[in-house]
């Protein structure tokens, strides 16, 4: 009975993480389109939500690789997964609160690493996997996107430099519909599957599924729905940071950042070297701004974003470890997990209640 309750809570927490993943990462695909007025905010989030939903059904390859090579497979229990999810959700909400784009995948990895560390000790952590899946991609993604987007915008300006500004603006806005759609579809295929993988792992650990990795249909549908709903709600604080606080972008820059970002993400995916869409598009936006004029980039904002990236793994690990540690204080039954869950819900309700009392939050209407 106790293990059933833990399983239900893990599934619900995984779907909650999926929702935060959706609204945290909405900005990756559509911030530049909204900023350059290629799309209205509502149309942009709707398009992105639909494509994230569709993308979740396209392939299940990524679902099988979640947490693989990061922590020892034998160490994983539903309670460790729960701690990891709490760490990831907390970091996603915290960075969203400050309007900072950060990788949800790295937050999830960090949460699980922290949780497994507290549960099983340092022996359960595979350092090589962290280097390979977090550190190297974390350095490579923004740097490569920065350089490629910079080069792209210089070429774009060279080719269309003598044309009428109205034609150029309309043209690149149209192009952003395509690149934004590609980004959303790619995001759906990657990120909804993290949740599918987590839920499936919990089902296997609970004994509901056999060892061969098969994702049940209800898991696919619920994960796709959660990420699409999260995307539709839109993380407007992060959209504002990415769309207008890093650089003030024109449609050509928006197209170059998005086009270069999509090219980098898909090339890396094709080579079996997945990169964070957040890191790629942030680097692309900075590159498209810096290539025009170095001072066009607000380096203070960019610096804050980079600090958030560096802190993602350790902070989500600390929170994930604390969540596991606290729940294990109450023994191995479901009581600890229930208490931690209630505490987290209470904290979130208090934070949002305080925000609502201070006046309307940033919404699509306010942004438009």
């Amino acid at each position: 009975m106790g293990s059933d309750i833990v399983l239900y809570i893990v599934v619900a927490t995984a779907l909650a993480f999926d929702f935060t993943n959706g609204f945290h990462d909405t900005a990756n695909a559509i911030a530049t389109s909204i900023s350059t007025r290629a799309m209205s905010p509502r149309a942009a989030v709707l398009m992105s939500a639909v494509l994230n939903f569709v993308g979740a059904f396209v392939s299940l390859a990524v679902a099988a690789t979640v947490a693989k090579g990061i922590v020892s497979a034998d160490a994983i229990t539903p309670t460790i997964v729960f701690g990891g999810l709490i760490g990831a959700i907390a970091w996603n909400l915290l960075t969203w609160w400050f309007g900072l784009p950060s990788s949800s995948s790295h937050a999830l990895i960090g949460g699980i690493v922290g949780s497994a560390f507290v549960a099983e000790g340092p022996g359960a952590i595979l350092g090589d996997g962290i280097l390979e899946k977090v550190v190297i991609p974390g350095l490579l993604a923004p740097t490569l996107a920065f350089a490629v987007a910079g080069l792209s915008i210089l070429i774009a300006y060279r080719v269309v430099g003598r044309q009428k500004p109205g034609v150029v603006t309309r043209g690149y806005r149209l192009g952003q519909l395509v690149t934004g759609s590609l980004f959303s579809l790619a995001h759906g295929t990657n990120d909804a599957q993290k949740t599918m993988g987590i839920i499936t792992l919990a089902l296997v650990a609970h004994g509901d599924l056999s060892g061969d990795f098969h994702v049940p249909t209800w898991v696919v549908v619920s994960s796709a729905t959660a990420i699409a709903l999260g995307t539709y709600f839109g993380g407007w604080r992060i959209i504002r940071t990415m769309g207008s606080r890093i650089i003030k972008m024109d449609p050509a820059q928006g197209f170059s950042a998005q086009g270069a970002g999509a090219a980098v993400v898909l090339s890396a995916s094709h080579l079996g070297f997945p990169l964070s869409t957040t890191h790629v598009i942030s680097g692309g936006i900075m590159g498209a701004g810096a290539a025009k004029r170095l001072s066009a980039v607000r380096w203070g904002v960019a610096g804050n974003i980079v600090i958030a990236w560096v802190l993602t793994l350790p902070c989500s690990a600390v929170i994930g470890g604390a969540a596991y540690g606290l729940s294990s204080l109450f023994g191995n039954d479901a009581l600890g997990v229930v208490i931690v869950l209630l505490m987290v819900i209470g904290l979130i309700a208090a934070a949002f209640g305080s925000r609502v009392r201070r006046g309307p939050a940033i919404t699509a209407a306010a942004e438009a």
Partner: protein, 81 residues
Amino acid sequence: MLAVLAVIEWDKIGQLLWAAPLAALTVSVTFSLIIMGTSRADEARRAGAATPALLYSLVALLAGLAFVAVVVYGVAVIVNK
């Protein structure tokens, strides 16, 4: 230190370092050529210059086909992951 370096998949990084810029520049160049081609073709048509209008339309058409091919390839990469 050497053990750490051995973990890194240098061959994939090497491929990524040329494949990603190539893909991105193809997207940028082809779409910019569509805009340039259609804009210039329109101007030439207004000026009554039929041959340049045809040539610029051809540039826009070829660039459009190349852009569509890149996008279709991108979708194929997503679907066949």
